[in-house]
């Protein structure tokens, strides 16, 4: 990325300094065991966390947890993507679909996916399937709503233009509705990915036996505080990487969008 015209080289330097400052504050807060209502006695120092991370990366168990979480995210997100986009396109474009399919979705939407954990355990036979269900649920609502929104925002003039160029209803759906809704769909996927990580980690902490969420929660239980922070950082990195992946795929699918908008998204 080119430096912004107004900041020049100063902006990257400021950003690096900002991160450095964060680590300095962390280091001294934990080193001096600061106790100002917020207590740092039990919080590991950056160096302890680094050592712990190195240790975890050398062992096999840590990777097993990561793989378990990734598999659940991938499954849950894939199901949510297929269902959310398909239903969103139908609900957005066909009044009949809106009237018959949308009310239950709007009814269930305000319930946070984590609140589904007990019911999900009852509904699904295995721990894996119930956690995947929670993950799907989390991603589904943002995807379906953004898809509906995208379809409803399609410029009617483009539909008119297509009909006066000889397009029938199937062609309009394929050539106008889907690409017209695409930017909004990608936004939905991006938000959905974030929400499904939140749901996955919560579900794993509550009911799991594997996964990064489980790893983090168990570490707390056995008083391995630096392992807790390693778990947190792992979740952060995995979430960031999956969002970046969505954005990358999104850009690839929408070459017509100006670069400026892409960088903003």
């Amino acid at each position: 990325m080119a430096p912004a015209p107004d900041g020049g080289w100063q902006r990257p330097v400021r950003r690096v300094l900002s991160i450095g400052f964060f680590f300095v504050v962390w280091h001294y807060s934990t080193k001096w065991d600061v106790d100002l209502y917020v207590r740092f006695q039990n919080i590991p120092t950056p160096w302890e966390v680094l050592e712990e991370a190195a240790a975890q990366l050398r062992g096999a168990a840590f990777y097993g947890h990561i793989l378990a979480s990734l598999e659940r995210i991938w499954l849950g997100f894939a199901v949510a993507t297929v269902l959310g986009i398909a239903l969103g396109l139908l609900i957005g474009w066909f009044r009949l679909a809106e009237d018959t399919l949308f009310p239950p979705i709007e009814l269930l939407r305000p319930i946070p996916a984590v609140a589904w954990v007990p019911l999900s355990i009852m509904l699904w036979p295995t721990e894996r399937s119930s956690i995947v269900f929670i993950t799907t649920l989390g991603a589904f609502f943002p995807i379906v709503l953004n898809t509906v929104h995208g379809v409803e925002g399609i410029d009617r003039q483009l539909v008119r233009a297509a009909t006066s160029l000889g397009a029938g209803s199937a062609a309009i759906f394929r050539e106008v509705v889907i690409p017209g809704a695409l930017p909004s769909i990608v936004t939905g996927l991006s938000v959905g990915m974030g929400v499904s990580w939140i749901c996955l980690i919560s579900a794993e902490m509550i009911s799991g036996q594997f996964g990064v969420g489980y790893f983090t929660w168990v570490a707390y239980g056995i008083v391995k505080y630096s392992q807790v922070v390693v778990g947190m950082l792992t979740i952060g990195v995995l979430g960031m990487l999956s969002s970046a992946l969505i954005r990358l795929v999104g850009w690839r699918c929408m070459p017509w969008l100006p670069r400026r908008v892409k960088d903003g998204g």
């Binding site: 008119r160 233009a161 006066s164 160029l165 000889g166 062609a171 050539e175 969008l257």
Partner: protein, 266 residues
């Protein structure tokens, strides 16, 4: 290219009403207009007089409340590729390249990729856009976008091309260039053009006949034959014949504009 026999628009006693919030707006009343195949007719009138509504009825976007619209003897029932529309702006598919936009109508007809590209390129060269095939509409200037819009319609070899203030959003210099381009393209394809505008100079420069409309509900107030020789140069607007026609139309349009303002009660 199309023969002289196609492109006859017949609008007979057209009436169009819109209902909105329980109130009825009569946009067009007893509107009658026939075009000769291959001619350019400009529809001129104050803003809100019903020009777009008439054009939309020919395109098949709105259904008449009264009267008939037919093209080459076939009643207009729905939009179709035989009546291409060039809109004022923002009507290209942003997700398709210039080539993809121009090929669209051919794709709808099931023309194969290679033939599609070849024909699209023919019309792109007609509007002077060779070299921009792979650009996206968002990367083009307003004038270039309108040229793509024209090529996209003409590639379908429509009976008529309907244009709704197509140059209205362009700056004066570009507008003039586009008017000249349209005339040179029309010399090649000779399709009937129904051209909506509120710019008297534009109407007179382009058209064989100018239909001056009354304030809403729109009717034809005067049908002015423009017998200026073709090809017309930009300087034609300074000739005495042009000035005389302009004076005649200007008087009428001003009367109708005043009527439109005084008639408009909230």
């Amino acid at each position: 290219m199309s023969t002289g026999a196609t492109g006859r628009i017949e609008i007979t006693d057209l009436g169009i009403e819109f209902s909105r919030n329980g109130r009825t707006v009569e946009a067009v009343r007893a509107f009658t207009l026939m075009t000769t195949p291959g001619e350019i007719v400009a529809l001129l009138g104050p803003s809100g007089c019903g020009k777009t509504t008439v054009l939309n009825a020919v395109a098949g976007f709105v259904a008449p409340t009264a009267g008939q619209v037919a093209v080459d003897g076939e009643a207009v029932a729905a939009p179709g590729a035989d009546r291409g529309v060039v809109f004022q702006q923002h009507s290209l598919f942003p997700w398709k390249t210039v080539l993809g936009n121009v090929e669209f109508g051919l794709k709808m007809r099931g023309v194969g990729k290679a033939a599609r590209t070849a024909q699209a390129r023919t019309y792109l060269s007609l509007v002077g856009l060779i070299g921009f095939e792979h650009a996206y509409p968002g990367e083009l200037s307003g004038g270039m976008q309108q040229r793509v819009g024209i090529a996209r319609v003409l590639v379908n070899r429509p009976r008529v091309m309907l244009m709704d203030e197509p140059f209205g959003a362009l700056d004066a210099q570009t507008r003039l260039t586009m008017q000249e381009l349209l005339l040179s393209v029309w010399r090649e394809v000779r399709t009937t053009i129904l051209f909506v505008t509120h710019d008297i100079d534009e109407a007179l420069f382009l058209a064989d006949r100018v239909a001056v409309m009354t304030a809403r509900p729109g009717q034809i107030r005067d049908l002015v034959a423009v017998k200026l020789a073709r090809p017309r140069a930009a300087t034609v607007i300074a000739t005495p014949e042009f000035m005389a026609l302009k004076a005649r139309i200007l008087t009428q349009v001003r009367e109708e504009s005043v009527r439109a303002l005084s008639g408009r009660r909230p």
